[in-house]
């Protein structure tokens, strides 16, 4: 599904912040991406999203080499990926419902065709009664769940979540993790970037990708 081969990344003429990164993400797999703050977790997720170009090495996404992609192909590949940002990135002028429906709207689908789907998902993440509310009045946990719902609405083959439990209390963090595991059981490969060891301990079966000294260490 995702394969990195000796990927390196540097910004401008600066030092390499990621070095010789090689790993593979299998379909329906579950892994944590961890490491100290500033180790490059978010950068690695952005590389997987093809939001950054590696300065060396190869990235293969869904069977396509990143440097062979034609204009427009990146968009099609991104539609197979759900992403949860650390800072949620909800659009403040759209309601919770509209934010969650956004990935379907940008695909040109009619609102009537996805309304029930969006409502059902919002209820599933516990935001059934907050659908018509704008993000500025949502709590941190509600925003997080809205961001997760937005990532899940397209039934992605791969979910990338950047510190999804960073802004919530331990109780909600456990609920969110359950949500991710349920999603994984339904067939989605999940990558959760976190430095929360307690969270990772709750899910022993997951593979751990640990970033340190600009390199990636894998613990199956």
């Amino acid at each position: 599904m995702v394969r990195f081969e000796n990927v390196g990344l540097r910004y401008g003429m600066g030092p390499e912040i990621l070095r010789d990164i090689s790993f593979e993400i299998e379909p329906q797999s579950f892994q944590f991406l961890t490491g100290p703050s500033g180790a490059g977790k978010t950068t690695l997720l952005r590389l997987m999203l093809l939001a950054l170009k590696p300065t060396r090495g190869f990235i293969n996404l869904f069977g396509r080499m990143s440097n062979d992609l034609l204009p427009g192909e990146i968009t099609r590949l991104r539609r197979r990926i759900g992403v949860v940002f650390q800072d949620f990135r909800l659009l403040d002028h759209l309601t919770t419902y509209e934010n969650v429906a956004l990935p379907l709207r940008v695909q040109g689908r009619e609102e009537a065709s996805y309304r029930a789907e969006v409502v059902e998902l919002l209820q599933w993440v516990g935001l059934g009664d907050r659908m018509n509310v704008l993000p500025p009045v949502l709590s941190g946990g509600e925003k997080q769940r809205a961001a997760i719902a937005r990532a899940l609405i397209v039934r992605p083959e791969l979910l990338l979540a950047d510190e999804p439990t960073g802004n919530v209390d331990p109780n909600l963090a456990r609920r969110l993790l359950r949500l991710f595991t349920e999603l994984n059981k339904s067939g989605t490969a999940v990558v959760i970037a976190t430095h929360d060891l307690a969270l990772m301990d709750q899910f022993d079966g997951a593979r751990r990708l640990v970033l340190g000294d600009h390199r990636l260490h894998i613990y199956d």
């Binding site: 999203l49 939001a51 204009p71 427009g72 990146i74 968009t75 099609r76 991104r78 539609r79 992403v83 940002f85 990135r89 659009l91 002028h93 759209l94 309601t95 419902y97 509209e98 956004l102 990935p103 709207r105 940008v106 695909q107 040109g108 609102e111 309304r115 409502v119 209820q123 059934g128 009664d129 659908m131 018509n132 509310v133 704008l134 500025p136 009045v137 937005r150 397209v154």
Partner: protein
Amino acid sequence: MIERKTRRQTKADGNRPVISVRKRIDLVPSDTTAGRALVTVISIMTFLAAITAGCAIFISDAADEWQSQISRELTIQIKPNDPKLIEEQVAKVVQLAQDTPGMIEIRAYSQNESEKMLEPWLGAGVDLSELSIPRMIAVKLDQTRRPDLKAFRLQLNSLMPNAQLDDHRQWIDRLAAMARTLVWVAVFVLLLVITAMALAVAFATRGAMAGSKQIIDVLHFVGAEDRFIAAQFQKIFLRLGLKGGILGGLLAVVLFAASAAVSHFWNLSPGGDQLEAMFGSFSLGLKGYVIVFLIAASIALLTGYMSRLVVFRHLSGLE
């Protein structure tokens, strides 16, 4: 709690929550200070463009009117080489004009009338009998069947070498050249105004994009194509362009309508007909109003197109 106005609501049944579904809201916020400022800029530019075009139409119409008035008649001047024969010479020329197809209403000015013409310069009561005053013959031309002036000039020269034909061609040519120059100046000013407006729209689009960076990022990450994002900006800017275009166009139409009303009022006053003869009626007519409408519509379309172009360039730069 911030709740938005709803357009329709789904039915609540049992435990199902009531959801409010708004009309599709713009993904790029449009009601911003920069947006309002751009509407003002576009309306001013549309107003200036419409005024420039209107003035060009006024000048062109007035010049056409002068030309058609002047070219409707010609003058024949006979310099008296022998005062005793002058009446006979005038009669011969009048006869020649009458025999020429396309020449209607031939009027020969008498000696007295010719002398009176000089009164404004020489004063009344001056004895002009000693002066050899040229005699004038005014000829009105048939607009539907113009005479062959070249042939007439040759005939006149052979019949009366001391007669001179003035078909006002020199004036007509000068007027036409002046009108053409002014129209080209107006076109140039119009192009400057449109260029300035296009640049203002480009800067405003860049500003809007800088302010919407997070929105563009999110749209990219949720799988929006560049043309979808560009269409969002284009929609907003087309709407701003339409608002500005309509406002500026309406202001111009009001100004032209007011100038036509004032011109009509002047025409009722003494000297009004001279003003109208000099500067036209100050009335745009249907053609003028259609042109103002086209300018407003073109500016709105240009605004939308420019924003799309700028967004596409910006997005391709991101890739």
